[in-house]
Symmetry: D2
């Protein structure tokens, strides 16, 4: 039995930036109804503030439309039909874009390399002036449509993971820095108050050096830079089986240390000390066909990360909110290890609740460790998230939590664990149906709901966390509102 | 351990008329948005076919609008503004009315006696011709608006519980029979194919004699009569505390025997042998401030009734689907013992699930007892509802159910019991708040969801029913759809 | 031909308070779905900020629920179930209540006098302490639910038209002042920053003296008073025919003069000089069965009022937004002269557009007369409302409007007149059907839409206002966005 | 003045198949929210029964997913995730698919030729067995999901316009017939009662010979064939300007003659005499950037076609219902000459109303000519569509229409013409904005509504059709419902 000892004066540090941003599949998918339904569900539960994904300039968004007229004169031309539609939807969902500039329109590209099923071109622009012109035209258009003061609040990141060959031809650092220079200047010309950053790297060998080189370059070239961005995935070297990928995960500590190293690099530049770092992607596995994403273990992993990433980063954007996603092709089945917090068919996965629990936390932190974050709200009640990540050995975790000086309390728990909120298991045991009937869908949606229960407690309470459980609780002094003649216990013995 | 022994040839009798009709508070409340939201929720879950309630001719529906013109001439005049609005809503929700003719418009009444907070006048018409004219005008209007063939399918009942003094002045049987004669003839004049019936009695002393007298009268007077209606409540003599009523409940057997007695009376008339009997109201308590309605015990009671009422009746209409209801005044609190399957604020009560489980049953019955109804579907799978009513002694119930010759099966259970689906308990332990915050509402709605789980079983399965549990299960031979490389067990040990 | 001469420097005075508040039938009707549908339509088109109506404390809202317990002790008790539901709906529609304290719960009343079909009790409280307690409890409850800072922004008016015998027993001024004193003090005790006012009088003989006496009383008794309220109707002595009322209307000038007189009375008190005056009800006729409300003439009348009422009043609340209204009984037919801007069945009446046009005006006024209000927006374009009230003689009105220095302009007009946007006429010529078929409803909804047209104009434009027309226009310098090869005129000669 | 003389006995022939089917952009776009919003609007107004478009087997639908496993074994594999989603949406909108088998998945293709911006592969299958297997698997999947009896009612067409080189490599007739043979047999193997047909040709030189050869082949090879399909466009040789195409249109008569020729060919085969012909695409221009589609002229053209195409064809499917369409790229502007009846932004174009008017016609035809179709409904009222196509000379058209023996009638007209329902003109005169503000959108939506008006007429009525007008009228004997005291004319002189 582990005891969480609290006093009325307990204080602990905890910075909660979980709601700042969430990830999304490529922008063109935001035209889909199922995508928007999932997005609205995520927003109703977890109230994210920004959304970031790839594909703003990919050809399915159809923005870049140059043409040569009958006199042979070339014209730049932009098409904002789909961009407007997507941005209208985001704003209606209460979200601001965290803009990512990329990838390359085919007609502007210097090469033919593409990435993903949906063939995003990942080569530098053939003409930097045209790139700058497109960036500026796009931002000015948005400012005209939504107001300059609104759009200036949208952060802007240059490209995605240029330190990977797939995402940036040859992972050519010089060319990325050149792209950054062009882009950052274009952003500030278009919207002087818009904040811009990079280098949007993923981790791995040499990645920290990228940050160092990026900042050195910005400093030396006197380039605008308002924040540093990078990614954080927990997956170790994977094993592939068929269309799926499997790997073990790093520890939370190891990931945090990698992030702190980036933090230290930033702070080592006098000019940039204290500058914001945004983790513009994070998750357990970096693969959209890795079955861990659908599990309760994933929910528990993410709880551990949300408890500590605010120590180093101004945001950390879960990749991704939903399973309308096509990087490795169109999902064949409702559960396939997609990144999303929500499976196709509007089925909440366990990880959805990790965010629902963290993003709505209010108050001052009184306790934090590797299993718990507990806050005291303004009204004196306690609220917290508890979790029990079982990586190798699988065991329940018994906790006792003090309720110092609070008297009789209403304890409300919402439990997500392998037994009570595990739609993946239900789907598996159903026989892994690819095409869900109405009845199956109804059962799976229910199976994706937390178990909401209550108890009356006094002084402290015990809770047993099941394997890979994530539990939200509130404990508030109970003031019962009676009614004339109402006797709850007449029928409830 | 109780074993339910099944073979591939098992057969049992079970007539499931649970979905035929559901009850509702007075018709004027059907103008309310919250009422319609609750109704649509009930329909999504339980797909009722008809709806019956009081108040068609009450003054808040404003149908009867006679006036005297400037020459002193009297005119009958009807206002169908609200009637159209309500009927449009019912049909849009997939429901047909089970019409109840009543109560008396104040301006047509012979007396001043009223019933309920909303003051329905319960005296005979001052002029039977005017009553007949109003009935015919109303039915003809409906036939013009919705089509005669449609409206002719709506059953029509004359008045409500005339054997109670509150509902019919002096419980005057002669006057009721006179009203029936007038009404039944008016119905057939307006719509010859519409089916009409009575006497809509509640149980108690002398009630069976009402049925006998009603049918004798119909026979002797050669009146149209297509079905007999009566009510069925389980509450014994109550104790009142403040605004609430508490009582013990009869047994299912005793209630069933009372219904069978009515059945025998009908069949004793050669002319009426086999004529349909509709139980146009039933519930545990007959009081809308009796806390049992919000409990899991209520859900288990109703399961027991739904398992056997089809033996005697063509329908049994639960009184009522929702808690937008005003007979004893406007509910002060979300949980107050209202009749509804859904509490105000769109919180499903346990009884909602009893109906969701029964109304969607398909297939042929293979087993029925006082804890279980089990059917075999066309595809060979089994489906059933299990329940464990705990009236006095509280104990779990262990069952073992055979899956004869079915091999490995997917077992899906949805559990409603005092521990996992008990919004009343959560509300009570919250402190019985009268005015729910958004967060409280969200928790209570989740607390009103069944626990959906699955197992893989073979040959038979065990299930432990918690106290007052109602459990739905499906067991289907499991044919697993694999996918290339998909390994569920990689992350799920 | 009338010419409206404008120069680039034109300025005119115009205070547009049309959107501040709108009227509504009694609060209990706000539970109805049709009411909310109409309200949301009005909000989408005209974006009102507050809503005011009767019936907060009427028995159908069920707030006052005193009881005597089994020991004979009396308890005050309040039921906020319906109040919460209504307030949730108002806030969701973007509206704040303009609270009216009234009428009297039957159990608190000193007498039995009631008003309206729905029987609002209009007698003083039997016990002023109980009244004060109820007011305070209600306001505190709202502050707990919606936040004190939010609720403190809701204006609060004491009672309605106490200078009429029907609305206040004997129109007893002394008793009203006593009620005001009790109420105003209760409001400030509950919410010190809530603004309170009265005396909510209607016009007519002696009404100005009520204002004088009210303010004298407040001053002498040092009572809180933040604003003065009164009503403004245009109907002269009516003629009754059957259930309908017909009367001629006063002139806009005469009404305005009456309002200015009240303004002068307020300003004659040194303590209250410049204090806000709110016209908490206005319309043409004061009767809900006066056919003028459905006409285009009504729309033109209201345009004339909206053009000038801001000169004297901080708000003027059109009585009422919709036709879900029951003061003289439930409407029998879609068009019956109800107050609403929207007829039952979601049919916009002409007056709806008067508000849609005025409430969305932006910019600085450059011209105002008895036919026109014209503004210049920040981007240099002009926008205006034009109208042609035909009281006795019926004639079109030709206007020429300058577009000074604006070059080629896009002129967009939306026209509401007897010919092109007149659902009442269509309904009449249909045969005045009481119960609308789906097809009839679709036609009537379309008949309630303005005619939207455009022209390209230069220097000035002509417009002919049909009889009782209300026309909205925008004129903006035209900057055409071409597209490569697009030739509008190829097919449009 | 033209007079349409009618008697009580008038009869005319008219077969109205306008509602049977409507066209759509490629199936993958049916995942878009804007697409579904437009579809639901079209359905609310025009109630189509089937929907047909390209792209079922295109790669964005992702159905064909073969793979080679780690042992080098090849597997056919299908992904129905998106197909289910689209079919669910269609059925929810009240539509059944008119299936078109095509185009070729890249991995099954024998060549690399593609068509359109979205690159549909238009080469024969490399392996006919794999094609047949895919067809059968897809149909069986649909039958399992939606029921065999349901899916068997969906007509099935093989490929699209194989007589064009762009749509079918080399327009190779032999290869098409081979594809038809494979496909038709596969369809019947999967679903014996599903109806199958071809050859889905467009018009032009040699097209009639295709029909002859197709039927000869079917007959000789004893292939299943249930109907013949072809297309019908009115555009003559076009002129291209930039991204737009302009051409004159053929006459209705010329198009009709071409269709009748096909009809005669079918009937010349004894085996196929009287077999259904479906025009699975028709429109004025065959280009999605031809500005005629947005005009009132287009609406009038289509009216002329709908009046006579039922003489020859069992259906004629307008290409297309909406402007979410990408064949020549993503539309840059709300009006760009797209095929749709609805412009992006939910703006009804004039042609939308042509279908709304025709598809809801009920009754027996009493008159038909090149300007009018008039029917008598069961209740004796008349209903009709009138139009005034102005190709070269532009003139209004005056008509007088008899109302034989009908007495005083309510005449309701809904008018669509260049003056009153012309959103294209308003958009043009606005300055052709590419990105619409909320206010602009509201105006354009209103500008896309017909003008609904009424008159009381007796014996006959006159109507002046504006240029390119399409007018719907109903004339019904007027039976006025009076109300006690209601005087419409008090305020309406």
């Amino acid at each position: 039995m582990n005891r969480i000892t609290l006093t009325p004066d307990s204080r602990a540090s905890f910075t909660n930036n979980a709601a700042f941003c969430v990830g999304t599949g490529r922008m063109g998918l935001a035209l889909h109804k199922e995508y928007l339904d999932q997005l609205n569900m995520a927003q109703e539960l977890a109230h994210f503030q920004h959304i970031r994904g790839h594909g703003l300039f990919c050809d399915d968004m159809a923005i870049y439309q140059p043409y040569t007229d009958e006199n042979g004169v070339e014209h730049e031309r932009y098409n904002f039909t789909y961009l407007d539609r997507v941005m209208d939807s985001y704003l209606a969902a209460g979200l601001r874009p965290f803009i990512e500039l990329g990838f390359m329109p085919e007609k502007m590209a210097s090469g033919t390399q593409t990435i993903f099923y949906w063939k995003g071109n990942t080569t530098p622009p053939a003409d930097h002036e045209k790139w700058a012109a497109m960036v500026k035209a796009t931002l000015r258009h948005l400012a005209e449509r939504y107001g300059e003061s609104e759009v200036s609040q949208w952060p802007c990141e240059v490209w995605n993971e240029p330190n990977l060959r797939g995402f940036w031809e040859n992972a050519d650092k010089e060319k990325y820095l050149q792209l950054y220079a062009t882009s950052a200047r274009a952003v500030k010309e278009a919207l002087p108050r818009m904040r811009v950053g990079g280098p949007a790297i993923c981790g791995g060998e040499g990645s920290q050096q990228w940050v160092r080189d990026f900042l050195t370059f910005c400093r030396d070239e006197k380039l605008p830079v308002d924040f540093v961005t990078r990614h954080a995935y927990m997956g170790n070297t994977p094993e592939r089986k068929g269309r799926y990928l499997y790997h073990d995960m790093r520890t939370v500590e190891s990931l945090l240390e990698e992030m702190q190293e980036t933090r230290r690099i930033i702070d080592s530049f006098p000019e940039y000390r204290g500058m914001e770092m945004h983790i513009t992607e994070f998750n357990t596995s970096y693969n959209p066909f890795c079955p861990i994403h659908d599990t309760n273990q994933n929910a528990a992993f993410i709880a551990g990360l949300l408890a500590c990433l605010g120590d180093v980063a101004a945001s950390y954007s879960y990749w991704t909110f939903g399973d309308v996603f096509e990087e490795q092709g169109v999902p064949l089945r409702p559960f396939h290890g997609g990144f999303g917090m929500i499976a196709n068919g509007m089925i909440a996965k366990p990880t959805m609740w990790t965010f629902a629990f963290f993003n709505n936390l209010k108050g001052e932190c009184v306790y934090r460790d590797e299993h718990a974050v507990i806050l005291r709200r303004a009204d004196g009640s306690l609220e917290g998230v508890l979790w029990n990540l079982c990586r190798v050995e699988r065991a329940k975790l018994d906790l006792t939590i003090d309720l110092p000086g609070m008297g009789e309390c209403s304890l409300i728990t919402r439990t997500v664990d392998e037994d009570v909120c595990n739609p993946l298991k239900v789907w598996h045991e159903m026989g892994q149906p690819e095409s869900l009937s109405r009845d199956q869908l109804a059962v799976l949606r229910q199976a994706g709901q937390p178990l909401a229960q209550s108890r009356i407690v006094n002084g402290s309470f015990d809770v047993t966390l099941g394997e890979n459980a994530v539990v939200h609780f509130t404990a508030a002094p109970r003031r019962c509102q009676p009614d004339y003649g109402y006797d709850y216990h007449w029928y409830v013995k």
